[in-house]
Amino acid sequence: MLKLKPFVWHYGRQIGTLLGLVALSTVLWILSPHFLTVSNLINVAQQTAINAVIAAGMTYVIITAGIDLSVGSILALAGVVLGSALHAGISLPSAILIALAIGFSCGLVNGLLITRGGLPPFIATLGMMSVARGAALMFTQGRPISGFSEGFRALATKEILHIPSPVWIMLAVYALGHLTLTRTKLGRYTYAIGGNEQAALLSGVNTKWYKTLVYGLSGMLSGLAAVILTARLNSAQPIAGLMYELDAIAATVIGGTSLMGGEGRVVGTLVGALIMGVLRNGLNLLGVSSFLQQIVIGSVIIVAVLIDMALKRHK
């Protein structure tokens, strides 16, 4: 009990989200015989991976009291550059590095616009959302780039211990993301900047540099998501990733990260992303129309945050 207490104290909010996920899964298990099967659960995890990877970066950004609307467009841009690099015969590791670098650079530009240019994060990343999308379309003349080698597609299809690689990538991102947020200087400063930027500055934190870095990381994770998506679809599309920013923000917020900044955990975001994935999957299994699905998902986001706020008020 004594050991458990600090854990509950630290992760109470995340445990709440987890209970939500369990409850949701139980309902789907009762309603659909196909839900609780190994193959379906692996399927859900795989479908969640892309949103979850992007949402990990979004969590950092939101903890600094920022927002990143450009993740979906950065994914598209990194994806088409990756696709054409592969078609041009550039080696697989180099092509992946290029995709990550594209994402990282776009993110850094976001960060610099915010910290040096003084733009609100909403505006800077809204601009980048349009610029990166346009760049992706121009780069490909609006056409998808398709057909890649087996080796590249293995990034999405290869199974290790019966679990597809995107799920492993997602788990690795969250392990690293959690470690970084709780155990490193970058993590500590991320919380400090979001909690009180002035106080952080006056405590010697180079707030501009760390904020820029956080946007860079968010962009880089979009680049990583682009690698997974391109490998899975066997195609890089300039219109990929539309509305992904909203899914990532939703996963983060359902996971208990406050849009006001200063609090939140990546493990909560992972559960939030899984809730979104389970919900989509379950609604599909139940044959709910895609129109109604949107209404249900939107309502779940609203209710989740309402519950969170009500709980906070009672504390």
């Binding site: 155990r183 200087k185 970058l186 993590g187 909690g195 009180n196 106080a199 006056l202 405590s203 180079n206």
Partner: protein, 500 residues
């Protein structure tokens, strides 16, 4: 003849899980009196205010208004019962005019949805005039000083027929002349039969404005006295339950070598031609009015802002302090004027706040060394006597005095030897103040040098070895502690105003 009692509390009790915040509190308020509420950090003052304002519910006890038992259910209900609180943080809309603020939420309307601006202005003008205030109701609130904003809050409370006004440390951000005007307003309120519960940390004010005084200690109300029948030292004894031999336990130490020298330092629009030196073991007080450039000077010394001209020498070497990081590396520390907005990350834990400036020292290859950090933080929590249930407690939940100790702990932890303290005891109670002063003694005894900016003259006189007075961005006087008096400092700070 005694005025009738309008508010009576009997046996009020309030418990939070694991903590008794108030126990068996009996308190009464008469019509038209100013009842001062004194107490140390965590004595229960703010809990009592929260109960009266409806922000939290009592656990036990009874509340009588006009001798009728009542219940204060929520803030709206408190307002309906004619109880108003003027908080330290003002709640006005900065871009709206004074008149619009006064009637916010209950604007007179010509037709539903169409405001009657003429009526708003006319009522506002009458209301302000009734309090003897010469504020133009059309002025946007953001252009007013803090004192004037406070007056507007008071007017707002009055306009909705407040009979009980609770003021939570109203003078903590005011200058001497603004305090005069606030007190004049309070006297007007008394004549109108309004009763005031006045919470303060400044004992002098108690004697100037109060009719009766009640002292809270450890959640209990230990005494209620007529002001005329009590002395300052008796009040201090009641508050802290021990004799404070001195309010300012200054220990003088022969100053050592020079650690900081500032030559002709200027920042356009803030201060000009500042020259002084600071030695080991010394407390250099900087007095002056608000806006005289003191905080701006501190920010330049600490690398937050840049100087336009002049030189800073640290331990004999000329330094260009380009960042806060650079200042911290030179073993400087800065206890800011406003701990909530600049000193602390309120949502982070006690440990994380104490360690924040020292994160580079506690990390290796970017990874935090948790155990080392934990031990250091625990050490400072114990040394400074910070009252917190654990290192993980978020600082927002600590009282003002304990928060200020956390800020001090930050700079002890970073081994600062040149400490800039900007209003180090603002808004904290007598007991915690003395503890901060004792720490200043201890630090100077260990060879630290302290630059103390303060608006409280007794503090400047009581704790400084030398005193600089700033006026309009320039040094207007320098005194050794023995030759300084309140009058001489004020004269220098006010300059031509004093002679006029």
């Amino acid at each position: 003849m005694e005025s009738p009692t309008i508010l009576r509390l009997c046996g009020i009790r309030k418990t939070y899980p694991g903590v008794v915040a108030l126990e068996d509190v009996d308190f009464d308020l008469r019509r038209g009196e100013v009842h001062i509420l004194l107490g140390e950090n965590g004595a229960g003052k703010s809990t009592l205010v929260k109960i009266l304002s409806g922000a939290c519910r009592r656990t036990g006890g009874r509340i009588y208004l006009d001798e009728v038992e009542t219940d204060i259910r929520n803030p709206k209900h408190a307002q309906d019962l004619s109880i108003r609180v003027i908080y330290q943080e003002l709640n006005l809309v900065p871009y709206l005019s004074v008149a619009d603020n006064l009637f916010l939420g209950r604007e007179p309307a010509l037709l539903p949805g169409i405001l009657d601006q003429a009526a708003i202005h006319e009522s506002a003008r009458r209301l302000l005039a009734g309090l003897g205030l010469s504020i133009d109701p059309r002025t946007p609130v953001k252009t007013l000083g803090i004192a004037e904003q406070q007056m507007v809050e008071i007017a707002k409370a009055l306009s909705s027929d407040a009979r009980i006004i609770i003021m939570d440390e109203p003078t903590s951000a005011l200058t001497e002349s603004e305090i005069r005007r606030l007190f004049a307003t309070i006297r007007t309120l008394k004549q109108k039969g309004v009763s005031i519960i006045y919470i303060s940390h400044r004992l002098e004010e108690t004697f100037e404005i109060g009719d009766r005084v009640s002292v809270l200690r450890d959640g209990r109300l230990v005494a209620t006295r007529q002001i005329a029948q009590v002395t300052q030292s008796e009040l201090i004894r009641l508050m802290v339950d021990r004799d404070l031999t001195e309010q300012f336990p200054k220990q003088r130490i022969p100053p050592g070598e020079e650690v900081l020298r500032v030559e002709d330092l200027s920042r356009d629009g803030a201060f000009a031609d500042i020259t002084f030196s600071l030695h080991r073991g010394e407390v250099l007080g900087i007095a002056g009015l608000m806006g005289s450039g003191r905080t701006e000077l501190a920010r330049v010394l600490f690398g937050v802002d840049r100087a336009d001209r002049g030189a800073i020498l640290v331990r004999g070497q000329r330094r260009d302090i380009r960042s806060v990081r650079a200042a911290i590396k030179l073993k400087m520390g800065f206890v800011t004027e406003d701990r909530k907005s600049e000193g602390l990350v309120l949502n982070l834990s006690v440990k994380d706040n104490i360690c924040l400036p020292s994160v580079p020292a506690f990390s290796r290859l970017g990874f935090m060394r948790g155990r080392k950090e934990q031990q250091a933080a625990l050490g400072y929590v114990r040394q400074l006597g910070i009252k917190t249930p654990s290192l993980r407690q978020r600082v927002v939940l600590l009282s003002g005095g304990n928060q200020q100790k956390v800020v001090l702990g930050k700079w002890l932890c970073s081994n600062a030897e040149i400490l800039i303290l900007d209003e180090p005891t603002r808004g904290i109670d007598v007991g915690a103040k003395v503890e901060i002063y004792e720490w200043m003694n201890r630090l100077t005894a260990q060879g630290a040098a302290i630059l103390m900016i303060s608006s409280e003259l007794p503090e400047i006189l009581g704790m400084s070895d030398r005193i600089l007075v700033m006026r309009r961005g320039r040094i207007a006087g320098e005194f050794l502690a023995p030759e300084a008096t309140q009058e001489r400092i004020l004269e220098a700070a006010l300059g031509s105003y004093a002679q006029a």
